[in-house]
């Protein structure tokens, strides 16, 4: 891609092409942490969509609160989200009062958040908005359904964050942009290493179709169960002992599950349920070092696949990744995500910036995905 030369700013057409915005149905903007620069990227995206020849209606929401004037954690001034007439948004009633556009209320979703019920609205004028969407993935999917009832072919954009509490977008959206800010790590080297790890997680392959079907069956039957184990069926075990079957997907899998309220804090319970013939373990929640510590303490946790609902659910250290490799435990996801672009933001917490070229080069040196720095968005 010629446009990816590090000394060039990128045109709106670049974003349209790189992300396939003509036909993409849904996109998540995933920040590496607080103040990564997601809102700036969102504003660039919205600007690029406005300039597209084929007009597309965008529908925007966030995981939790975003787009507020001030960062309520650090007190710093934050960029605002600017939406134009016709766009849809899913935000809380409390945040609607902080939007300065005329917004037509189309539906009230019954999803309640700390700042009120989530409403679906349509921009009747241009204006600045505050997004305070649902905090859990399932509710984001509900918001998308509402938006598609209004505009079937809208481009649904989720402004998300990597957080243990909520899923940023994987499984919910077709595609994602990862935003890495200089603010998210103490040095460019550390930022590069962390970005490389996130890219690894976000681009993990999905489990085989047979396992996926088995997991989905189990999830449908026991929607509240957070740990689902797949093992080789009894009638297959004998055959396996005589002749090793090369691919897990060729085996007949049996599933069992644990009725846990959450994955966090239940590592021990999950480890106790592990069996030697388990081939895959799906954990429906954040997979952290703490959970892994218990699993690794069990010798049965080896030669298998550890599965998350999507790549945003892994929060593992380098050490944990090494230990998994030693045990021949592969990582996989239920919903694969396309990650066509990484955006970087050179701004540090104190308002100073690192060199644009330096941050671009640092990230490019560790990933095979296009990297760009879009600059400030004038809205």
């Amino acid at each position: 891609m010629n446009l990816l030369k590090s000394d060039l700013r990128h045109s709106p057409e670049f974003l349209v092409d790189a992300l396939g915005l003509d036909s993409l149905r849904s996109l998540a903007i995933i920040g590496m942490g607080k103040n990564a620069g997601k809102t700036t990227v969102l504003n660039h995206l919205l600007n690029a969509i406005r300039q597209m020849k084929s007009k597309r209606v965008v529908a925007v929401t966030s995981i939790g609160l975003d787009g507020e004037d001030e960062d309520i954690v650090t007190g710093g001034v934050k960029p605002r989200i600017y939406l134009t007439e016709g766009a849809l948004l899913a935000t809380s009633c409390g945040s609607l009062n902080k939007c300065d556009a005329v917004i037509e209320i189309l539906a009230l979703t019954g999803i309640h958040t700390a700042t009120g019920e989530i409403a679906i609205g349509r921009m009747r004028t241009n204006g600045y908005v505050e997004l305070a969407g649902p905090s859990i993935a399932r509710d984001v999917a509900t918001c998308e359904r509402y938006c598609r009832e209004m505009e079937e072919n809208c481009l649904f954009i989720v402004d998300g964050a990597l957080s243990r509490k909520s899923s940023a977008g994987g499984g919910l959206t077709e595609s994602a942009i990862l935003v890495a800010g200089a603010v998210n790590a103490p040095s460019l080297e550390a930022l590069a290493a962390e970005t490389a790890k996130q890219v690894l997680f976000l681009t993990l392959p999905s489990v085989g179709e047979q396992e996926k079907d088995k997991f989905r069956e189990s999830m449908e039957e026991y929607p509240t169960h957070r740990a689902i184990f797949l093992s080789v069926a009894d009638d297959e075990r004998q055959a396996l002992s005589a002749e090793r079957v090369s691919s897990p997907s060729e085996r007949t899998a049996r599933s069992r599950s644990l009725p846990l309220g959450s994955v966090i804090g239940e590592g021990k319970t999950i480890a106790l349920e592990l069996r030697r013939d388990d081939t895959a373990l799906l954990l429906r929640g954040a997979i952290t070092d703490n959970v892994l510590e218990y699993l690794l303490s069990d010798s049965d946790f080896a030669d298998m696949t550890l599965v998350a609902e999507d790549g945003t659910r892994f929060f593992l250290s380098d050490k944990a990744l090494r230990q998994l490799r030693q045990r021949s435990v592969d990582l996989a996801v239920l919903s694969e995500l396309s990650l066509p672009l990484i955006c970087v933001n050179p701004m540090r917490r104190d308002g100073s910036t690192v060199k644009r070229v330096d941050i671009l080069e640092a990230i490019k040196s560790v990933v095979d995905i296009p990297v760009c720095e879009l600059g400030p968005a004038l809205v």
Binding site: C93, L96, N97, D100, V102, I103, E104, I105, L106, A107, L108, E117, A119, R122, R124, T125, N126, G127, L378
Partner: protein
Amino acid sequence: MLIISRHDEERLGLPQVLDACRCYSPQGRRLKAKRTFYAPSDRASLTKEFDAIKSLIAFLNEHPTDVRRAAVTLGRFRDLLGTLSGLEKRRPLEVTELFEVKQALQLFRELSAMEPLLRAASVDVTAMPEAEVLLDPGDRKTIGFYLYDEYSPRLAELRQQRSSIERQMELCESSQRESLLAERASLVAEEEREEAVVRTRLTGALAIYLEALKENFSAVGVLDFRLARAVLADQWGAGKPSLLGDGDHATLENMSHPVIEEDLRKRDAIFVRQSVSLPPGTTVLSGPNMGGKSVALKSMTLALVLIQLGFYPSATVSATPLYDFISYSSDHLDTTKRGLSTFGNEIVRIRDDAARARKGRGLVVMDEPCRGTNPEEATALVGALARFYGKQRGSFVISTHYRVPDGDGIAHVRIRGIQSEALDAMSSDGVPESDRDAIRRIEALMDYRIERVEGGAPVPTDAIRIAELLGLDEDILAFIDDVNGKSGAAKEEERTSQK
């Protein structure tokens, strides 16, 4: 008034039945949760409820599609208590609240067009076109709502000015941007002030319709709850209850317990429906172990409770006088309550029921009272209770293993149970494969019908036979024979003859 503890309500199956009665709107759900108890003085209102439910049952069988459509409309209603309260206090409504009112007005219009259904339900839901115009000044006929330009020329003007500045911002040099942003911010502030004026004016205009809105919401609740009860009655094949006068017998024919019936259906078993008649005074229900006395009491009590809560009971025919109160207690009393023992609690309950029964006409149901007390004293207590209630205006129903002598106002009924020939035949069929198999075989032999008996009828004595069939240790059975004074030879002879 219902005098039933939360635990006993669970055992009775009342919460499960209320859950199965599916209302679609928050208004209907609130009405259901209110649990209106129709006392004797509310006979006219209850009759009206039952008439409407009867018409609705016929309607839903003739027009199922219309009912489904109504359910969808009802399901779109929201709880607007806060908004209506705001309207009452003339608090300027938020845009989202105005949207809610607009949506409700559209739904009222939809429902008002369903005339045959409303007629069947004896409910009036009226369209409010004037109020609709207020919230759709441009006659857009859209589902959404915002503060339209039509509400205020000044608002329209401010929005145009802002739009013009935003267009300039898109094309301007960055040096001009700050001043344009400031100008825009000033317009936005003025726009917000004008919007507040519009909201206040609109709230005032809508307040005129407050009473009509309340009446419509109330009607929606009534329609929803009546429809839900009609659907339930139709599922149960329930007949319309007849309301009788004081002193009449309550009658339930082919009654079932819907929750237990459903559980049995899931395991391919059949609930044997029962019929019972309860005269004023005391009715003593006896029957063998595993004979379903508790289930019969639950079915009967649940049916009579449901009638007084405005539901059709799960019985093909039902007729009852209305009671001032219904009290039900099973043997599992909450021993932690007030720090009293099980017996203490039970006596307090008996004392309070007796006091209520002296003042009003109640239905008092007790499942095996005094079962934890020594049999001699318990027999005396239960007998005394039977005689006390035999003289009261209400009805007292107990299931018990204790012998209750005949007396004024005391009727005896019993579950027919298993004929001893059938038990003998089962013994000769060999040992059941499992406990479940044994229980099923015993259940299959049980005749669950309730029959009237004279007070002198013997107390059922199938317990030891059933224990034997369930494989109780032979030594224990032999000791039972010893205790009962039966000789070993006689017993052996009895067993041989059975084989």
